[in-house]
């Protein structure tokens, strides 16, 4: 990372710390925001946040490594999380999983070379009556079929920006 880039990043982190506070309970909200904006929490970020909150960087790393939604490795712009729980399994999760791998050209746990998509497993998404279910960033898709995946991915590709798909209102009624 260039020195100027680092300085800019640190300034952003100071702003985040000013907004969320500098006590320990601010750590996870800050990390969540970093994850959302930079798609990862880099070792440099962890060190900078540790400095700001007066923690040892290992403390920050231990939190990042504990939670599934916080990542130190770069994630795609769209993180796809397919529910692996038994009910989704009973209604065709395996086929959806295979087709996701086929359409994206990656395996679970990987990110596409263009940095657009990351494919992951998720535990119960709370959509058991409408499975198979998957999350794309914050948006939930239910009754996903192998055929419908192509359309969902196309919709993502057309959407500019990381979180443009989320309208904050929850699934349409």
């Amino acid at each position: 990372m260039l020195v100027t880039e680092r300085e800019r990043l640190r300034e952003e982190l100071v702003r985040l710390a000013d907004e969320h506070g500098r006590d320990r309970s601010a750590l996870i909200p800050i990390l969540q925001e970093v994850q959302r904006r930079w798609l990862r929490i880099s070792p440099y970020c962890m060190q900078a946040i540790a400095d700001l909150l007066d923690l040892h960087p290992v403390e920050v790393y231990s939190v990042v490594s504990f939670y599934d939604f916080l990542e130190d490795k770069p994630q795609g712009q769209f993180v796809i999380r397919l529910c692996r729980t038994i009910t989704c399994d009973m209604f065709g999760k395996a086929h959806v999983a295979r087709q996701l791998e086929n359409d994206l050209g990656i395996k679970f746990g990987e990110t596409t070379p263009d940095g657009k998509f990351t494919l992951q497993w998720a535990h119960c998404l709370g959509m058991c009556d409408q499975g198979p279910a998957m999350l794309v960033n914050d948006q939930v898709f239910t009754r996903v079929t192998p055929e419908s995946i192509h359309g969902i991915l196309a919709q993502c590709r057309e959407t500019f920006g990381v979180h443009a798909v989320s309208d904050g209102k929850g699934p349409a009624r």
């Binding site: 006590d23 939604f69 692996r84 038994i86 709370g126 959509m127 058991c128 409408q130 499975g131 904050g168």
Partner: protein, 403 residues
């Protein structure tokens, strides 16, 4: 992507906005507590701890700062009623939290919303803003001078064990979500060491119903030890999956009739941490004293392989184990190996008995509820489906299976 309600209408639809809170404000906090105590309400998250006991202990604890925490980390596989409550009846939850604040003397509330439900945040924020404008949150709640209470939303980051109340508090404090030893309990040593009550989303909503309709209305339903109605998340092999309201004490057979799952060969009650009941036990009742549940009902039709079920749940626990204590960290992978052996048809009866005894060790020796309940599904399947799981001929793996 509609919110599916199996029951045509829930009790929650019949509650007038504000009725519970205004009833609570007319009474002294002690009388509110007495009313909830009389109703017999027990925690709707699954553990079933009497709500009034928890609240009265927190009310008695002396501190300059107390907290009301709403556990919206609904991660139990097969459970989705809290998602429906938060999207359709968020006002009831916030009203219940406000009543709790009044009873225990708290000024701050926190909603711990799981990361997977981030799309609900905007809606809950809107409800919070509106309630602040209406004077139902803020400096003088309901026009009562000196009754200060406000609520903020904290997001989870994708960890099942954070649904355990002490792990949830750790996570709120900015730590890894590792459960604490209990005692001390959160009611005296909770969020930043202050008295804290942690209740499930549904529990808060029922508190409002109890105050609006009276304790007598509530405890005339259900059984003696498990009073009142409860929401159920029904999924799996049934014709009408969705969210249902039944009084506690309902038998599994009755429930299956209502949801269109009469053909079921087994029902998983209580999610991954619950137990799997075979047909012969469908006369059992769903109640804290018989088969307890946080609301998850997964129906398995005759075509389902019970080893797939056990395998799926065990993998879930292996992945979500925080790794602090040995029985849970080392025991669950051993059970998975055992299920794989059963699938390959290579497990002797003696070894199956060893696995069951390992499962019992997990129940006894794990530090928190996750490890203690991780072997439940496996043990009930190993007990009740022996003819199905023993002596198999190996099957080829399905394509697209989990790694």
């Amino acid at each position: 992507m509609t919110t599916i309600l199996g029951s045509r209408s829930l009790t929650f639809d019949t509650i007038e906005p504000g009725a519970g809170l205004s009833a609570a404000l007319r009474k002294a906090p002690g009388d509110v507590l007495a009313e909830i105590g009389e109703s017999g309400l027990r925690g709707r998250g699954g553990a079933g701890f009497p709500t009034s006991v928890k609240w009265s202990l927190a009310a008695e604890a002396e501190s300059d700062q107390k907290y009301v925490v709403c556990n919206a980390d609904e991660g139990e596989p097969g459970t989705f009623k809290d998602r429906v409550i938060l999207s359709e009846y968020a006002d009831l939850v916030l009203e219940g939290m406000t009543i709790a604040a009044r009873v225990i003397g708290a000024a701050r509330g926190l909603i711990y919303l799981r990361a997977e439900y981030a799309y609900l945040r905007g809606h809950i924020d809107e409800v919070l803003q509106r309630r602040r404008r209406q004077g139902l949150l803020g400096k003088a709640v309901g026009g009562r001078e000196g009754f200060r209470f406000d609520v903020e939303i904290r997001m989870g980051s994708g960890s099942y064990v954070c649904g355990e109340e002490t792990a949830l508090i750790e996570s709120l404090e900015g730590q890894r979500g590792e459960p604490r030893n209990r005692p001390p309990f959160p009611i005296d040593t909770g969020y930043f060491g202050r008295p804290t009550i942690v209740n499930n989303v549904e529990t808060f909503a029922w508190v409002v119903c109890i105050l609006a309709k009276g304790a007598g209305w509530f405890n005339s339903r259900g059984t003696e030890q498990s009073t009142g109605p409860k929401l159920f998340s029904v999924s799996g092999d049934c014709r009408r999956p969705g969210v249902y309201e039944f009084p506690l004490g309902v038998t599994i057979a009755e429930l299956l009739r209502e949801v269109g799952g009469e053909e079921a060969k087994a029902v998983q009650v209580g999610g991954a941490s619950g137990q799997c009941l075979p047909r012969a036990k469908f006369d059992r009742t769903i109640a804290y004293e018989d088969v307890p549940t946080g609301g998850s009902i997964i129906v398995f039709g005759p075509q389902r392989d019970m080893l797939d079920v056990a395998h799926n749940f065990l993998e879930f626990f292996a992945d979500e184990s925080c790794g602090q204590c040995t029985p849970c960290r080392e025991g669950v992978p051993k059970l998975i190996e055992g299920v794989d052996m059963l699938k390959r048809g290579q497990c002797s009866m003696a070894y199956l008995n060893e696995l069951c005894s390992l499962g019992e060790t997990l129940q006894l020796a794990s530090k928190c509820g996750l490890g203690q309940s991780a072997p439940n599904a496996f043990l009930s399947i190993a007990r009740d489906f022996r003819d199905e799981i023993l002596g198999r001929t190996p099957e080829p793996r399905r394509t697209g299976d989990d790694p």
